[in-house]
Symmetry: C2
């Protein structure tokens, strides 16, 4: 049995795919711009549970996850497509209208136009494929592959909240009425488009990815594509404050390191640029190393290998 990451790598090698392996594919559009495009599939009872969310909130998340990929390229989203396979009971009960209302509320916020997609029946669960296209100045897409030894590693916002919210949902019979901060982090993520825009304007980033699988996994993606290693400082990680109300310290760290779906931005830049980032909601958390084989985390007990502990479908 192989993971989906191995599988994608395998397909990429076997068929020599040049544009696969980042948050978005980057394709030439015109003399001034490149097109970025991403697709994200959300599957009922794998990526979401209907009893934990509302139709509007699920509509929001379906678009948000793809907007986050566009943000991670330093690009601006322009349009979207939405393919949905819908079980018949849901089709008939108004769920879909509310789902689209949540989707469009977020879409309007960023001026995104729905240009297509597909509607099918599903014999079992709800399946959503969210496709977003955007624009970035030619050659200016921020890839996973540009991190350099010595670069500082930064992350936006707070970490672990979404995974903490998922844990709360799993461990309780909370219903749709639950609006605790952590649960909202899980169910209704906010794409970091505004911050990504500010970072893009600075023109100092060497690599970027959004944290969807979890810091430990997504950092590995950057290291792999950039052919570098990394060192993270545990005491520098911006752990979501709210986590401490619900979990012991070691578990908070675990959620921040391995929890997925925070949809924060993880990026690298030369250390000389650190002052330029002072005004932004970002934290310095470590540095890029030359040795490809080393991805480590430093805590009070010394240095430990940082294994990929984030989410994997297989």
């Amino acid at each position: 049995m192989h993971s989906e990451f191995d599988f994608i790598q395998n397909i990429k090698n076997r068929y020599t795919l040049q544009h696969v392996g980042d948050d978005c594919a980057v394709m030439p559009m015109n003399q001034r711009s490149d097109l970025v495009i991403t697709a994200d599939m959300l599957v009922e009872n794998i990526d979401f549970r209907l009893e934990w969310t509302s139709p509007e909130v699920l509509g929001h998340k379906s678009l948000a996850v793809s907007l986050s990929d566009v943000a991670a390229m330093g690009a601006n989203p322009l349009w979207a497509m939405l393919s949905i396979a819908v079980p018949e009971p849901i089709w008939n009960d108004g769920f879909i209208d509310q789902f689209y209302e949540g989707w469009f509320t977020l879409a309007r916020q960023y001026g995104i136009e729905l240009i297509g997609g597909d509607v099918s029946r599903s014999p079992d669960g709800l399946v959503i494929d969210s496709i977003v296209g955007g624009r970035v100045a030619k050659g200016r897409a921020i890839l996973r592959s540009g991190a350099k030894p010595g670069d500082a590693i930064y992350v936006s916002g707070k970490l672990g909240g979404a995974a903490g919210g998922l844990r709360l949902l799993e461990n309780s019979d909370r219903n749709r009425g639950d609006v605790s901060e952590l649960v909202l982090r899980q169910l209704k993520p906010q794409p970091q488009l505004s911050l990504a825009n500010s970072l893009q304007k600075l023109n100092i980033l060497t690599s970027m990815i959004d944290i969807s699988d979890g810091l430990s996994s997504d950092l590995r993606h950057i290291c792999k594509e950039s052919e570098v290693g990394a060192r993270i400082y545990a005491n520098q990680l911006p752990i979501d404050d709210e986590l401490h109300r619900h979990f012991p310290p070691q578990e908070c760290l675990n959620l921040a390191v391995n929890g997925g779906e925070d949809f924060e931005l993880l990026f690298t830049t030369s250390k000389k640029n650190q002052l330029l980032l002072d005004s932004l909601d970002v934290s310095y958390i470590g540095e890029i190393l030359e040795e490809e084989t080393v991805i480590e985390i430093i805590n009070d007990n010394g240095s430990h290998a940082l294994l990929a502990g984030g989410y994997s479908h297989f």
Copy 2:
């Protein structure tokens, strides 16, 4: 309960969507070209059955249905994305490798690059979302909305074969070894890209659509978008010869008129252009009428309303 066509129309009106309602969305790309883009979702036990097909053939069909949409715009496909939700048993048995092999065999034929997509786990059936992007000369996409009263209506190839093949599959215990012509029409459709290219070069078409839902449904889509009516001559329909070996004459006509998934091209052009089409594998089947409310079929018994009898998910 509303059909998916009503639902899409409803969403289109409510959110004033300009680019929804054709085989592909058409977006500006650069000074010379427009981008066309389409998404098609295929759901196990709704759109296909694993016991009737092979992984390679399913991979082929997943791409072919989207290429057909690109053909129907008179555009050239450039790249594709593929999102799949995969049940764990299938993930582990080599199915997916063979699926991609079938997909890439067709992709190579048209020089199409896989640039992205998503891989997820599915608790139930296999779900595939196929996205294809292409290019068309600026302003030259052939829409559903340009048919004019008096135009001749044409269809490419033969009709009803795919629906006949589905009927054979449903009524027998044929397994994957079955390669009868009709079954292949159903399982392994060929996108009409080459013909579409020839038609586009003639620069005489007023509207085009591919026959995915069925002639009666797809003709209605043209009539609705063009605000016209239509008259079809039953004895002009190019009924698939193979059908007559399996079904009585009235049923052959029914399959040709209402059967979906032939993925042939249905188009309109001014009657004065008929000579230009003589060398192509297309058949004149009727004409566009001014009265929007009339969509009729003429047979030996006279004129009958042509109701939408094709495939609808809901």
